[in-house]
């Protein structure tokens, strides 16, 4: 899976945001996220699986338990799917 749109990710007013850049004004809304969310969104620019995402996070972050990490990633991916942002 990967992101359906191209996003610009940056921090604005202390909040990490991902803003779609495919169609002019960001009227289709933005994603407010955190450091981990931004990391996952950057991974999703290329085709990737959930196990691969989890593996990469474990390499680059100090994480809690495997179960907690899986739950966090799955919840984030589900929210992206619900917003129809993945293909």
């Amino acid at each position: 899976m990967k992101l359906k749109y191209t996003f610009a990710i940056s921090e604005v007013a202390g909040q990490t945001v991902a803003v779609p850049i495919d169609s002019g004004y960001g009227e289709q809304g933005i994603i407010k996220t955190n450091e981990t969310g931004a990391y996952i969104l950057n991974l999703l620019k290329e085709d990737i699986t959930i196990p691969q995402i989890i593996s990469k996070i474990k390499e680059d972050f100090e994480t809690e338990s495997e179960e907690a990490l899986e739950a966090t990633v799955n919840k984030f991916i589900d929210s992206l799917k619900a917003a129809d942002l993945l293909i």
Binding site: A8, V12, A13, V17, V19, I21, Y25, G26, I30
Partner: protein, 235 residues
Amino acid sequence: MICKLADFIIDFKNSTEAMDHFLEGYKFCGKPQLVIEVTPEEVEAARYITPTTVNTIQGEINAFYKKLIDLIPNYDAFNIHASLIDVNGNGVAFLAQSGTGKTTHTLLWQKLLGKKVQIINGDKPIIRFLNNTPYGYGTPWCGKERLSKNAKVPIKHICFIERAAENSCKKITSKEALNFVFSQVFMPHDSKAAIKTLELLDSLLKSVDIWVIKCNTDISAAMTAYNKIFEGETL
């Protein structure tokens, strides 16, 4: 045609006579720092940006605009959808969803304050940082009312306009502004320029006071907002 726009000297290369007419108020003699050129294919594609955009000159106007917006973030500038006024040297930008009445509100401020107010741009001002100060500039892309002046003003206030029966004006934080601002910022299609635009937006929100103005169409709407925003200031 060579223009001076947002303190950039820009060559709008191979522009048509009709485009030159559109840019007329910004014509300049000098060596260009930036060159923008559009292809016939880009002009054709830009004709259909909105349902009402049907003629070739509008296509050329839109195509040059898109190129400009992709280019200027590299020079600490970006574009917002706003009506920008100069109130005795203080830039006040009104942002709103289309159809909310930001032009109406802008004209109420002009009616209230007379010569203290100059309308810099009615639709698409450029914001450019010079020495860490955000300046708002007039551009020829200024909406159907053609409210524009070839001038700049340091931006001090950003106001989000909402229609309401009762007038009010409330200061909000930059974090609260995130709920309103993104739909009014033109994001370049180039990824690097888009990230730079977000960085500039962050700097802008840190540099100004931010307000939500709830207003009707009566002159008292401008008075309520003006009195709150410029409270204690002598203009």
